[in-house]
Symmetry: C2
Subunit: 277 residues, 2 copies
């Protein structure tokens, strides 16, 4: 379990607010790994070993594991068990259902005795409202990361609709702020929306924002920091494909480290610029 | 795979539009089943055997299986493999993510070779818009069931917000209607909102509606039919706890059948009243 204070301290110590996304696709990993019992776990293990001093968070994407059935779930469980204790370990699962069902999803990802996994945080879809989110908050010390403004083209369909409480994504943030504070709730805000960060900070001045979309999806780190950074940093920027698939050779872990280092150094500049370190 | 026409014919033949929800909680099943290798599958198998002539659909709730880790997934896969070929087999998973991730979720539930499972339909959360839903539609002949108006108290938080295209749930239906027709898309509408069905039929005149909330959640079947039924029936009404936990004894399957029969007989009256059979 990682408290807000521990997260902030880790950011200062590692001079990084990088989250490495483990969207590990068995079709895309180097072929020499296929001889291992669990090639996806072997891949993740080496990525983790190569990057854990440069990032403050890991984020396996549940879909990539679920697509492989039982074998995929075994890879996910092995990965969760291997993740460092000090990083914020997020399961990117986008869950959300009525109360008794969300309680079961919370057990699936937070209760090691029940499922074999205990992540620190989960991404949650807000459409079903309060009782779809609060069962995750019932697990003391765990984080809920609520979708606000996402990075892909479909975000335009509903998230920008005008409601009586501002846009839909503004409504989501305002309402979710009544469920728990910035010590338990984060929001997903895509890096491709960097000019929106000023607006988001009006509604979520203190919450950490999980920011996907830097790298393969085209978001710009400097802009995200310019508009979204707070005195506590307040940002966790995710990169997945640009790091884990930096090359497809036997040196993939070294290449991932080099890419993570490049991003960490850019992040260090931003943290220094903001006087955080 | 079940086409719209096959679904309608099955409703007429079985005189039923009942979906049995397999929200199977290992803590709630009769204790004598615990001696079996896979108690949850044994439970589901007997429920399926006892109800398959009375219902036209089954709906395992993914959360209840995921909460048990690998064992739970094995129970889900065994259940999917046992489901009758003629029923509409829905995985209630409420998934939705950016395009490449939704494609992986589609593999998880639609591609037997990849995951061990091939459901006919999946429930999907709409918040992330177009590209979060269309990857499921890319699987020919499979159904996507989009959350519109859900049954629990949290539905009030966002689904009734007023937008430039009506309420949010109306916006969702109007937009999703542009992604595919009533032969591929259904909507989730909670039975607890029965007076809203008239309004929903303005926006989704032909789509089948998956209606949870009858039974344990307090929805009224007659009202749902009065306001929501079409000339093709257009309704799939789900009951979970009231059927599968009708008793907690060794006769649980007989009790489940008795409860399913009671609902089927009520449904037959409604189908006759509407001149569908």
């Amino acid at each position: 379990m990682i408290s807000r204070q521990q997260l902030i301290e880790q950011i200062k110590q590692k001079k990084s607010f990088l989250c490495v996304g483990l969207d590990t696709d068995i079709e895309k990993i180097p072929s020499f790994l296929k001889s291992y019992h669990d090639p996806v776990f072997e891949f993740n293990k080496r990525i983790i070993d190569a990057t854990k001093d440069l990032c403050i968070s890991y984020k396996p994407n549940a879909a990539f594991y679920e697509s492989r059935g039982v074998k995929g779930l075994q890879s996910l469980i092995a990965t969760e068990n291997y993740l460092p204790a000090e990083t914020l370990n997020i399961i990117d699962a986008k869950r959300g259902d009525i109360g008794n069902t969300s309680s079961m999803y919370a057990k699936a990802f937070f209760d090691k005795e029940a499922s074999g996994m205990s992540f620190d945080a989960i991404t949650v879809a807000p459409y079903m409202g309060n009782d779809s989110v609060t069962p995750f908050l019932a697990f003391e010390g765990k984080w809920v990361i609520i979708l606000a403004l996402t990075s892909s083209v479909g975000s335009k369909d509903f998230q920008y609709l005008t409601t009586e409480n501002g846009t839909l994504y503004e409504s989501v943030i305002q309402k979710a702020n009544t469920w728990a504070g910035a010590d338990r709730i984060m929001y997903v805000v895509g890096a491709t929306k960097s000019t929106e960060f000023t607006n988001i900070r009006k509604f979520a001045p203190d919450n950490f924002l999980l920011v996907p979309g830097v790298g393969a999806q085209g978001g710009n780190l400097q802009e995200v920091c310019q508009y979204g950074m707070t005195k506590d940093c307040g940002l966790i920027v995710n990169a997945s494909r640009s790091i884990i698939y930096a090359t497809n050779g036997e040196d993939f872990a070294d290449a991932a480290r080099a890419e993570a280092l490049k991003i960490q150094q850019e992040m260090q500049v931003e943290l220094e610029k903001a006087g955080i370190i």
